[in-house]
Amino acid sequence: MSGVLLEVENYSGAFWSPTNELVPVLHQVSYRLKTGAMTAVVGETGSGKSLVALSIFGIQPAAFVCTSGRILYRDTDLLGIDEKEMRSLRGAEISMVFQDARAALNPVFTVGRQLADVYQLQHGGGRSAAMAKAIEALRQVSIPEPERRARQYPHEFSGGMAQRAMIAMAALTCRPSLLILDEPTTGLDVTIQSDIMELIVELSRQRGLTTCLITHDLGVVAEICDEVVVMNAGRVVETGTTEAIFTAPTETYTRRLLAASQLLEAAA
């Protein structure tokens, strides 16, 4: 299985409803993330794309149960390992950037402290050395005045700056092989969105990261991604190279999705 870093295989799952019944939400989801490539997982809200990503980390909601399938990371089934093994992978091998970075950072600790905590956890060393690394990471994601910014709290950051800090934490302070980005630009200004996407592409290339971008922004996908996975209602509809998906979609849903986004762009 050379060339594939992560493979989701026939992954199915369901939510416990309040009446104690299992409501299936994921149906035989299968896709592959090729090593070094940037793969987009696209689909509308509720299609299950984030749920699969959270499952890779073992941080899916408590009411969710996996009913079948495997998630293979370098030939290890992530669904079969215990919490301790999973924890050793988090941050070190697989890392994640979340939507709404200001909420995803802890409100009562400085941004620098949070990065430094992660640095100490992943690489050891003393507090002040970790803080220096945190400031360095903030500098690398082009946050101006990183020394001052490191002493500030998340609420003092704009959405875009907070997302840069989040990316610094997930991709630089952690040194993962696989970086998953869950709608990293949702809720940001359009100009900021493209800055953030540029940063992501740059870092991925520099570090040779395998990236999985969960999004519904097809314009971004066409521009920067190598592979596309289209999901709808808990199923993978279609997978292929970006070129193939955009020029010759085989499924009706994919065509409708593309058409919808082109309509939006035409209207804009």
Binding site: N106, Q122, H155, M169
Partner: protein
């Protein structure tokens, strides 16, 4: 520094609030207990005697003059004379304060030291047996009246098991108090070089402190639990887990700090309540504190004593919430902005 200025500004607020409190107390006392003269004279007293007493109590003056006199006296810590003890009310309160503070501090510490960990445990083991246990016990702690819990403890540990002394106050009957230095028996007995007396005082303190601790720990545990549950479901905790942090760091460093905010507010209110004197608790344990003083002043219609107590208790709340607000500034950076 910005934080210093904020603290200063917040502390300045104490003065208008305190002024409002004492003003309200004054007018409430005049409205609800218009003329306490009747309390001081026998029913067959002549009108002349009544007028004389009224003048001596300062009640003959017009209301604004009374109010100014009252404020002026307050500034000199003159709360009037209690006609049951014959002492100045300020001195009475000062005498009884250490008993209430000592019991309150020990009870509150017990409550915090058990309530917060229990709340964390319940949140961590949510919907499993430790959670059910904590929720059951704390429900009891909130629903059962303090005096009833106190009585049950007395009947178990004093009446049945005979391992703890009876509810006769801070020391066994007939044992003289050590020389008053701090007023706290835990400290004064040691300063007097009398460990045996210290031990006796500790044994007297156990049951009332346990009662107070139980009823204090219960709301603290419940609020800690719900705040922890909320924090643990937040986005920032998901981030911390995704970055590889272990459970302990996630619980005690990243969640608890956020969850402490509502807990601190609650503790402020509880502390105000405790240090104003747990009235029934002190009565049951014959604890010579402020709560008992207040109860006696009500029973005997001791006007000045009651007014003094109300002023003390209200100012105490003002102080408790000042401390809460200051703690908030240290815990939550968003408030400093």
């Amino acid at each position: 520094m910005l934080l210093g200025r904020m603290i200063f500004r917040r502390m300045l607020w104490v003065f208008p609030v305190a002024f409002g409190v004492v003003t309200l107390t004054f007018f409430m006392a005049r409205v609800f207990n218009g003329d306490p003269t009747e309390l001081y004279v026998p029913p067959e007293a002549t009108d002349a005697l009544r007028a004389q007493i009224r003048a001596r109590l300062g009640l003959a003056d017009p209301l604004p003059v009374q109010y100014v006199n009252y404020l002026w006296n307050l500034l000199r810590f003159d709360l009037g004379i209690s006609f049951t003890t014959g002492q100045s009310v300020a001195a009475d309160l000062w005498d009884r304060l250490p008993a209430t503070l000592e019991l309150g501090l020990v009870g509150l510490s017990l409550g915090i030291a058990t309530g917060i960990p229990l709340g964390v445990i319940a949140a961590v083991y949510r919907e499993r047996w430790p959670d059910f246990l904590v929720r059951g016990v704390t429900l009891g702690g909130m629903a059962l009246p303090q005096f009833w819990v106190g009585l049950v403890l007395i009947s178990i540990f004093f009446v049945s098991l005979r391992i703890l002394p009876g509810p006769v106050g801070r020391l066994p009957i007939g044992v003289p108090l050590p020389a008053k230095i701090t007023g706290f028996l835990m400290i004064d007995t040691l300063l007097a070089g009398d460990p045996a007396l210290w031990w006796q005082a500790v044994r007297q303190l156990v049951l009332p402190a346990l009662t107070l601790g139980f009823s204090t720990a219960s709301p603290i545990a419940r609020v800690t639990r719900s705040a922890m549950v909320e924090a643990m479901q937040s986005d920032y905790i998901r981030t911390a887990i995704a970055m590889g942090h272990g459970r302990r760091v996630v619980w005690f460093r990243y969640s608890l700090r956020n969850a402490l905010l509502p807990v601190v507010t609650l503790i402020g209110g509880v502390a105000g309540h405790i240090f104003a004197g747990a009235v029934l608790l002190e009565s049951i344990f014959s604890w010579p504190g402020l709560g008992q003083y207040a109860l006696q002043s009500i029973e005997r219609s001791d006007f000045a004593a009651l007014q003094g107590f109300v002023i003390y208790a209200s100012l105490l709340y003002v102080l408790a919430f000042l401390v809460v607000d200051l703690l908030y500034m240290f815990i939550d950076p968003r408030i400093r902005a």
